[in-house]
C-alpha cells in the first residue's frame, strides 16, 4: 500500500531533481545572453582587424590577439597532434600488457593536470633557458595540455573500428603495419579529426598557461621566439581593468572567442554526426 506520505516524497524527489536541471541551465543561458547582448555592440570589422589602442583612445581591436591565439594553438597542434593521436593508436593497438596500461592511466590522470601548472613547466623548459617570454613557450604549454586528452579520445575512436576489418585485412595477407595505418586508422579518421578539432577549441580558450609563457604583446608579432598576444589574455587584462570602456571590449572579445570556439565545436560535432548517419 502506497501511503500519501510515500507518494509525496516520491513527487518531491522528482521535482527536486528536475529543478536541479533547470538550475544548471540558468547560468548557461545567462552567460550566453550576456556575452551576446553586451558583446554585440562593440563588434565591428575594426575590432577584428585593428591593434589595441592605449587607454583613452577610441576604437582599437583585438586583431593581434586573435592572430596570436591561432598562431600558438596551431604551433601547439603541430606538436600535440602527432604525439597525442600516435599515443592513442598505440593504446588501442597494444591494449593488453603492462606498459600500455601504465600509459593509459598516466594519460587519464594527466588529463586533469591544472593548466596553470603546465604554464610553470613551459616556463622552466623554455622561458628560463631563452631568458625571455615567447610564443613558443605558450605553444608548448598548450601542447602539453592537449596530448593526454587527444591520446584518450583517439584510443576510444580507434577501438570503435570493428575487429572484422582487421581480420579481413590480415587474412588477405596485408602486413600488420599497413592494416593498422590504412585500414584501422583510416576508418577511424573522421572521428579522430573531430577529436582534434575539439582539442583545438579547448586550447583556444586557455588563458592560465599563457600568462607567464607567451605573456602579451601590444603589437603585431608572428615571431615564435618573442612574446605574443592572445585573445584570452587580452580579455583578462580588459576585464580586470578599472575602465568601463575596457570592460565593454572584454565582452566583445569574449563574444569573438565564443564564436571561434563555438564554430570549431559545431564543425567537429557535425562531422561526427555525418559519419554516424552514413554508418547507419
Amino acid at each position: 500500500m502506497i501511503t500519501l506520505r510515500r507518494k509525496l516524497t516520491n513527487h518531491l524527489a522528482t521535482a527536486l531533481c528536475g529543478g536541479a536541471l533547470l538550475l544548471a541551465v540558468t547560468p548557461l543561458l545567462s552567460v550566453l545572453w550576456l556575452v551576446v547582448s553586451k558583446g554585440l555592440a562593440g563588434l565591428s570589422l575594426d575590432f577584428l582587424t585593428q591593434l589595441p589602442k592605449p587607454m583613452g583612445e577610441d576604437g582599437g581591436g583585438v586583431a593581434n590577439g586573435l592572430i596570436g591565439s591561432f598562431f600558438m594553438v596551431g604551433l601547439a597542434a603541430l606538436i600535440a597532434v602527432p604525439l597525442g593521436t600516435g599515443a592513442g593508436i598505440y593504446l588501442a593497438e597494444r591494449d593488453l600488457g603492462r606498459t600500455p596500461r601504465i600509459v593509459r592511466f598516466t594519460a587519464e590522470v594527466l588529463s586533469g593536470v591544472p593548466s596553470i601548472v603546465v604554464g610553470i613547466v613551459a616556463y622552466g623548459l623554455l622561458v628560463v633557458p631563452m631568458k625571455r617570454f615567447s610564443a613558443l613557450a605558450g605553444a608548448v604549454a598548450l601542447a602539453v595540455l592537449m596530448v593526454p586528452t587527444l591520446a584518450r579520445s583517439t584510443e576510444e575512436l580507434v577501438r570503435l573500428v570493428p575487429r572484422s576489418l582487421r581480420e579481413a585485412s590480415l587474412a588477405l595477407g596485408v602486413p600488420e603495419w599497413k592494416t593498422s595505418l590504412f585500414i584501422i586508422v583510416r576508418t577511424a579518421m573522421p572521428g579522430i579529426v573531430t577529436a582534434i578539432l575539439l582539442a583545438l577549441a579547448r586550447a583556444l580558450g586557455e588563458t592560465a598557461p599563457l600568462l607567464f609563457t607567451a605573456l602579451n604583446n601590444q603589437y603585431w608579432s608572428l615571431k615564435a621566439d618573442q612574446p605574443m598576444s592572445s585573445l584570452t589574455v587580452q580579455i583578462f587584462n580588459y576585464a580586470v581593468s578599472p575602465y568601463e570602456d575596457w570592460h565593454r571590449k572584454a565582452w566583445t572579445a569574449a563574444l569573438v572567442l565564443l564564436m571561434v570556439v563555438g564554430t570549431l565545436s559545431i564543425t567537429a560535432r557535425t562531422l561526427a554526426r555525418q559519419r554516424f548517419a552514413r554508418n547507419k
Partner: protein
Amino acid sequence: MTRLPSVPEPTITANVRLGDRVWSILLTAFGGAVLVVAGLIVIELTHVAQPLSGAVSLWKFLAGADWDPVNDSYGALPYIYGTLVTSAVAIALAGAVGVGIALFLTEMAPPQLRAIAMFPLELLAGIPSIVYGLWGLTVLVPILRADVEPWLQRNLGFLPLFKGAPIGLGYLAAGVLLAIMILPTIASITVEVMRTVPGTLREAALALGATRWEAVKLSVLPYARPGIVGALILGLGRALGETMAVTMVIGNSPTISASLFAPGYSLPSVIANEFAEASGQTHTAALAGLGLILFGVTMALNAIARLLVAWASRGPLRKS
C-alpha cells in the same frame, strides 16, 4: 595485435618484416611520449622550485601564513586555505545539483530528454574559464552582494560562515562559480555510472512495491555510490586547479577568514597574478612550489577518482 598463425612463412618478405618492426617501434615511441610528458612536468616543476629548498623550511612554507616576497618570507597557508574552502563550497553545491540532474535524467525523465539535456551540459563544459570569470565579475558578484549574502546573513547569520560585510568578491563567489564550472563533469560522469546499474536491481525494488524514489534510494544509489564518489573527486580535482575564473572573483587578498563573504586567495590565483612579475629567483621558486603542491594533490585525487570510477563500472556484482 593478433598475428595469424596460419599465414604461410614464405609470403612474408623482408620488406613486410621491416615495415612491421618500424611501425611497432614508432607506436611504442608515441606511447612513451605520454610518459615523457609526465616526467617532464615533474622534473621541470621541481627544477623551478629548487631554489626554495634552501630559503624556507618545508614546515614554514606549508603552515606559515605570512607571504611577503620583499622580505623573502613565504607561507602558503592562506592560499591552501582559500583553495580548500572554495573547492569545498563548489563540491557541496555542484555535488547536490549534479547528482540530482543525473538521477533525474537516468531514473525519472523520459529517455528522449536525456539526449537533449546532455547538450546544455556539454555547452556549459565548453565555455572557456575566462568567460566564466567575466560573467562572475559582472553578474554573479553583484547578485551575491546585493541579494544572496544579505539574505544568508539575515537567516543564517549566527553561523561564523555568514558573518561580516557582504562584499561580493570572496570565497563564496569563487565557490559558486567553480560549482557551475565543475557541474558538467560531475553530472555527466554520474550519468555514465548510473547507466551501469543493472536494471534488475531497479525492477526488484519496484516489484516489491517501492515508489520510483524508493527504488533509487534502496537499489540505485547504494550500487552507484563508489562511482558517484569518483565523479565528485574528479570534480574536486578540477575545482582545485581552476585558475582564471577564481582569480577574477575571489578578491585576491592573502588572508584567512572563517566567513565565506570575506575576500581570499587561492593557489592557482597567486601563481597567475605574481609569476610573470616575480621579484626574484626565490619568489619564482616559491610560486613553483605552490604549483608543485597543486600538482601533487590534483594528480593524487585524479588517480583515486579514476580507479574508483573504473571499479564502479566493473565491480563485484557487475559480472552476472
